[in-house]
Amino acid sequence: MVVSADAANVTFSGTKKQQALAAKVFELLRWQGQFLSSDATIRVRMTSVVEGLGKHGESATVAEATAAIAANKAVFVIDGTGDDAVLMTTRDGRVPVLEIVPDRSHSFAQRFMTPLPKPATPLVRRERTRVDRVWEGLAGLSEEFAAPRQEFGRAEIVRREDERIVSQAERDAAALAASTDDLAVAGMVGEESDRDVAGTAGVDDTDEAVIATVPAAGELPETPVAAGTVTVEAPEDIASGPDTTVEAPEAATAAIDDVIGGPDTADEAALSETAADSVVVPVAPAPPVEVVVPVVAVAPPTPVRPAPAAMAARADLANADVADLAAAITEQLRGDNRVAHFGGQVWSEDRVPRFSRGDLRRIKDYIEEQEQPLTDTALVQDILGIRPQTPDFEAMRFALNFRLSREHRDYDFVGTGDQRFWSISNLAQIGTTRRKPNEIGTDYRFLLDEAPAAPGFRTQQSVDHVVTFYEYIHGLLPMDANLQSILPAPLMPDQRSAVLTFETPQSFTTYLVELRYPSPNRGGFILGLDDFYAENVVPGAILSITATENDGHFRIEYISQANQNERLLELDERRTARYVFRPTAFHCGVEDDYLLSEERFPRLASEKPLDDKARRRPESVIAATFERIGGQQDGLGYSVSFGRLFTAVNVERPMSERLLRQTLEGDESGAFAKDPEGDDVYTYVPSRPTG
């Protein structure tokens, strides 16, 4: 449906011919202004109107058109004469209202172009902001070392020479000086000055301070007042004291001279001229100016920071090795509760920022919400809102770590030196739920016996490891001497675990894993590699683990190979747990002796995992493994090569080659024995004959 706007209901006057002509003209102008608003002015030259009428078959002269228009003054208006005449109307058919030129005399642009005269500010001297020395940090510290020290070991902060208590008198004198200077130079146009007040340095005692009474700015006389209205009072004891030096501040004296129109008449003239050229300040008759001349205490120059005089005789400190000195400092500050320690850094405990209960609760809630341990960097940025570029970021990081380390009940430090993770107690465990971490630690107890006397942390850059079946199904790595050589030592004395990041360059994935440090009766291990194993490798795969510059971040890689298909052992847990062989495609390099294929271990199929009681004793597990994979010898026993036995034993429980060989060779029951005829073959004869 097409909707068109109706023509305006306009009644034209004049003769019929004029009415018809006016209607045509109006229609022409409406067409011209069809996109304008109803009350916008439509302007068309009269010559164009006549020309337009001609094109629409309505021949009329300018005189006829003008007459018709003149007969309809309520509708049209003509502006100008002759060829410049312009016909105006609106789409409503009314004479347009002439535009009102807005008053722009007070517009924003106008105000910019004509700035106000400079305001006369009150003659109040602004206090200079002084930064406390304690905030100057190490830069200030190095300056202090350069200066000689009178005393050794002063803990209090010594004020610098330019740091002193400014008395009220000094402020008044300064205001007086500033005000009179301004009067003389700028004709009372206010200007704040930061100049130091001459002649008042070293005045610390308000008893000795100047009390200068001057008229207020608005009360100053318009013309200079006559001399002789100034009374100067000085305490007699000060003035007559034999050792007392009485000095009037030069600036203040000069200023007073300026105000009272002293002997320098040139200044007076200058003042009058300057005042005449600039803003005229009303000046009231001057009251008497009372000046108590200050006693300037000439204080000895304060040393920047007293140098430790006793240090002059400490050649042992100056010549000591930094490492020895650091060890001595560590030893000395270890138990000092005035010092905050964290991660090899120290700070004065009272300088470490504190956190409110609300801050601590928000940190806890945030970790709980993210469902994983978070680093101090993330917490400082996200919870405390401090950006890494800000100067106090490192200080807040230290504060967060130190303060959280004091909240033993709520927070656990699970980080490393370079990657400081914080966790809370009710966070879900990282890694497998098949076995509890304590049970896994017990399984790895043998690692404690095999650990070197002095554990070497981060002594190697990269290690290789072959994944066993037990490690595969639990997604873990044992913290044996090999792996320990690339792992970081615990940062805190009582730290039980550390969260690490394992990056897989081959799949562009980073895994959050948990390193459980060994305890007195449990071995150490890394949990949380379930997904990495399931997605990339099979039991028997060769892994390469590489340390990075960040002591909490590692790269884990496998050997990429063409796809292979084998029927490999798996643990089926759908109903009752059983070992099964399933066709598996994999593309990682494997150690052939470790591969649990159906071809090599066919009798493992449908075997049930051993119960926990049997699993606890290595002898039981070895015996069961002999029975599962060993070749029978005349119905008397089983015979298996050491390599096959090692691979199959690690299906049930972790066992190192050393532990396995020790158990086989140190068995007192005589069930296990080395086959003298075989090449590294062992035999097992059960107590009851097999059958």
């Binding site: 430790p308 930094v322 500050l333 120290v346 004065s348």
Partner: protein, 43 residues
């Protein structure tokens, strides 16, 4: 065992350094600072 003997006044001086620092310091930094101070005082 450290071979350098730190006296109580040394510890006081270390504390004053820590108190006037606007950032936490490492132990080696602290050792360098006190070593430099002793060297300047003896010069």
């Amino acid at each position: 065992m450290a071979t350098v003997d730190l006296r109580p006044e040394d510890v006081q001086y270390l504390l004053s350094i820590l108190r006037s620092s606007s950032q936490p310091m490492t132990i080696p930094q602290l050792a360098e600072a006190i070593k430099a101070a002793a060297a300047r005082a003896g010069a």
